[in-house]
Amino acid sequence: MPTIDIQYFKEESFVHRLHPFTKILFEISVLVIAAAFNEPLFLAVVILGIIGVAVLARIPARKFRYMWVLAYIVLFMVITQGVWFTSFGDFGDITVDFEWRTLFHLWPAWAPGGPRIPVILQGANYGFSLGLRVVAISLAFPILVLTTHPSDLTRFLSQVRIASWRIPYNFIFVFTTAFRYIPTVSREFDQTLDAQRSRGVHFGGYNPIRQIKVLTTLFVPVLTSSLLSAHDLTLALETRAFGAPTERTFIHEVHWRRADWGVTALLIIIAVACLVLANSFGYGVLPYTPQRNF
């Protein structure tokens, strides 16, 4: 079973020491840059950059093990875009010289009425770039939570102010406490797995209908006990004065260092540069990008 491990891990790295804000800005920059480009080569560079940050943060490769799922997403994008691309794309006034190239037909020539349903090279390529965007974002997101102590995140989120509005502490608590319960839930999961295997449940067979039944035996107990402990948790919170009508004190401090200024500036420069490159000069943008010109 692939497990998703996005729990903070302790390490003395440059990335770990950055302020949560800086790391959130990194996530936002990745979103912006990945949206700006759709040429697979440019996105590959972005992904390499993210991997570079992960290496800098000394994140062990096993934390990204579950990323193999992304291969399926990329494959799915390539196939569906290859087929659908020309069927509902609006290409505005594309003047660049190129030819649609048909790779093959899903409904082959020898079939009655064929060939039909072409798979187009440009579509597949575009699908590939969409897939790479997903890869970039999925690789970047865990870096924030893997390298930021949940208490730093809690403290930072509690400091966020937009005019007089603040993020309610309840929301922050739920968000950051969820990470605290990952080991608890995964323990329950293991115990349930053991209990069910011990009475003859075989996980990982080939009959899909049977596997659905088999997975119920895992998820029903885990979900039920999580819900029950969530109930006890609310009672336990009350007895610790959670939600007392006073202004909450936070003893935890997060520090903004000089490096944060540098990284913030760098991220903004890179993001703006990428936007200009893509939108003003058309670098890293496929000539057949579907778009509407109003």
Binding site: R180, A236, T239, R240, I251
Partner: protein, 284 residues
């Protein structure tokens, strides 16, 4: 326990969970003296948890149902105080450590209650130190609660309550998930919080052999009522009655009870193996 001063008074307390036809608590009258340790025993479903929830204000503030009678903590009724006010008077330690440790470090776990109360930072830091020293968890402050052993987790849970400086501590089967050594340590800790810091303690336990010896009084609950109440030696000398309620006395008291059927009597009813050795030795 020299000067009797009631710290908790329960008067004609009755409680029905919403939708229930039978009361979970039925006309309970109780008093706890400041500085005593009371041991609460009763079969599962006898109403122990419902009673606690009445003492720390979860009933009537949070749990839906119908309440009769009243509970006074230090002279004022729980219904007139908010749960967060009561949290500073009545500390509650749950059976399972996993549901009561929400933080990412032990330090923050200890700070959590005082932070919620909005106390000044210096006061919170003082209380963290105080709780860590009293409970003996100084070396755990930077650890993650989720990865501590069961005994350590239970100590941290007690520490987190301690940081709220309550007068009364309620512990719901605090050792039921622990191995014998950790159980002994946790019980010893509870005992010292009572003896050295004068806190009033109410503890529920199935493993009565260890707890019986340091309790000042024993409460026996049965089907929502207080079936028996008194000094440990007195209660546990009535093993026959306990059996009828689906309960047992500590092994020493049980053996004494069997011997009493043969006509042997004891001035001081044995509770611990040491008592028993002395008492039976005298007979021999």
């Amino acid at each position: 326990m020299s000067a009797l001063e009631p710290v908790v008074t329960v008067e004609e307390l009755t409680f029905f969970y919403s939708g229930a036809k039978e009361p979970a608590l039925n006309n309970i009258n109780l008093t706890f003296q400041r500085g005593e340790i009371a041991l609460l025993i009763g079969a599962t479903g006898a109403g122990k948890s419902t009673l606690y929830m009445c003492l720390n204000g979860l009933i009537p503030h949070l749990v839906p149902g119908r309440v009769g009678g009243r509970v006074l903590i230090d002279g004022s009724a729980t219904s007139d105080q908010s749960i967060s006010e009561l949290a500073q008077k009545v500390g509650f330690v749950f059976q399972s450590p996993d549901v009561q440790l929400f933080s990412h470090t032990v330090r923050e776990e200890l700070a959590f209650g005082p932070e919620n109360l909005g106390l000044p930072k210096s006061e919170i830091l003082r209380r963290i130190q105080l709780a860590a020293n009293t409970i003996g968890i100084n070396q755990l402050l930077e650890r993650e609660p989720a990865y501590l052993s069961g005994g350590q987790q239970q100590s941290v849970a007690i520490g987190a309550i301690w940081a709220m400086l309550p007068e009364i501590l309620i512990l719901d089967e605090p050792t039921s998930n622990l191995d014998p050594q950790s159980s002994a340590r946790v019980l010893e800790l509870i005992r010292s919080l009572n003896k050295e810091h004068g806190k009033t303690v109410l503890i529920a336990e199935h493993k009565i052999d260890a707890a019986a010896q340091f309790a000042d009084s024993v409460l026996v609950m049965h089907e929502g009522t207080i079936a028996m109440q008194g000094e440990p030696r007195h209660i546990f000398s009535q093993a026959g009655e306990l059996h009828e309620l689906g309960l047992v006395a500590p092994a020493a008291a049980e053996v004494a009870y069997q011997l009493s059927k043969y006509g042997y009597t004891f001035d001081r009813w044995p509770l611990t193996p040491e008592d028993a050795v002395q008492a039976f030795g005298e007979l021999l």
